[in-house]
């Protein structure tokens, strides 16, 4: 383990996540009130959106940014296809659940991204501010692909036929996290550095501390869900680790290919590797209520998320470094 990796494991942000998992495994009743956890997730999204917007207001938009956006959107559309094939084949999932899970893996996890940014900043390779926009753009395309993949299974169901298609598309595009991320990003761009200065003590200085408490809670929730898991199989657990490895590597190659800097390359890799557990589960409850949250939430939240936080962010960072210097 090199110095940088070690540093990761002495970072309070990571350690609070570990504490949460340990407490849950020890069956402690420790819990963060849900209203507060929800509030922290809103805070984190508003803060990361603002910071990204301010960064872009300084750096401006160029071809690289446009390429990164296109790459991210394309990846989000296409990654569910890989995931779906693996879930149907090796994972032995039915079409409906395979489509639902695939949507999660094509989309992104904001908190995984945020944690990666913290770690890459410590290591001296901060990702560009525009990656926040890339993240926001990657949230929803995968939902559409996932639904298309699950479509025949839906067609069979009469009750769901009542669901108005408009309601769903609306949910996809005006999803709470997308609106908040892009809205805060726009506010950051409009307000610029001077507008941000006033609110920096709240959104910047407090950021890592809030992330600590939020990750404490996510550690608790992820581990508790893992212990309660019924629908999980060993095969699905293997996939929940293989997909972030594969998608992470592909995303990092893509980032290097389109000429992103090391930090942004690694961030794109992390976005591809991460699986959504905030925006997509809620959309799936609406669009595919027949799919089992016991499968998609357990895979994305309880296996992939900890794997990314504790191991994969480090691996992807190293890969981006090697590709750049190689």
């Amino acid at each position: 383990m090199d110095a940088a990796t070690l540093q990761t494991f002495t970072s309070p942000v990571i350690l609070f996540f570990v504490l949460g998992m340990l407490a849950a495994f020890a069956r402690s009743e420790l819990a963060v009130p849900e209203a507060l956890a929800k509030g922290m997730s809103l805070y984190l999204m508003a803060a990361i959106g603002l910071k990204g917007g301010v960064a872009v207001s300084k750096s401006g938009v160029d071809t690289t940014v446009a390429l990164a956006l296109l790459a991210g959107i394309g990846a989000s559309f296409l990654m569910p296809l890989i995931a779906f094939a693996v879930l149907r084949g090796f994972g032995k999932l039915d079409q409906l659940n395979a489509g639902a899970v695939a949507a999660h893996y094509g989309s992104v996890s904001v908190v995984t991204f945020v944690t990666a940014v913290e770690i890459y900043e410590i290591r001296g390779t901060p990702p560009g501010g525009f990656m926040v926009a890339v993240m926001a753009a990657m949230e929803t395309p995968a939902i559409l692909t996932g639904l298309l993949l699950a479509r025949r299974a839906i067609a069979k169901d009469e009750g769901a036929a009542k669901r108005p298609a408009g309601e769903l598309l609306h949910e996809v595009f005006f999803n709470a996290s997308v609106v908040l991320l892009l809205g805060a990003f726009a506010i950051g761009v409009i307000g610029g550095a001077s507008g941000f200065a006033d609110v920096a003590p709240f959104f910047e200085a407090g950021f890592k501390g809030v992330l600590c408490l939020f990750l404490l809670d996510m550690g608790l929730i992820a581990a508790r869900r893992l212990m309660d898991a019924r629908a999980m199989t060993l095969r699905l657990a293997v996939i929940a680790i293989a997909l972030p490895l594969l998608n992470g590597a592909l995303g990092t190659l893509l980032g290097t290919g389109i000429g992103l800097d090391i930090g942004s390359t690694a961030a794109l890799g992390v976005l591809c590797a991460s699986a959504s557990y905030i925006a997509v589960p809620a959309a799936m409850r609406l669009a595919l209520p027949q799919a089992d949250p016991g499968i998609y939430l357990t895979m994305s939240l309880s296996v992939t998320f900890p794997f990314n936080i504790l191991i994969n962010i480090g691996l992807i960072g190293a890969l981006a470094n090697n590709l750049a210097s190689g």
């Binding site: 769901a160 709470a176 905030i278 589960p281 959309a283 409850r285 027949q290 939430l297």
Partner: protein, 102 residues
Amino acid sequence: MIETVIRKRIEILADTALVRRVTSAIDRAGITGWTVTPVQSGKGREGHWREERVMGTDKVFVLTIAPQEKAMALAEDLAPILSSHGLLLTMWDIEVIRGERF
């Protein structure tokens, strides 16, 4: 002495994401109103859940008071999706005072 009349009270446990679908069914049935109350956690055939508000997969109770025939119309309307959408519907007779309101 005050007079009471009999109405049905229907309580539907539903995913937060599906609340609008339930309340539109209530509106369609011509029922005058509904009330949403929070739920913390639960266990069913699909396992134990709690603390899912961040993920948006938490649940609520939607309760509504209606005359017998409207209540049955609502139950009829929701019946096909009860299983697929994981809804839990219970109903029973209650007494209300201002019967004309429901």
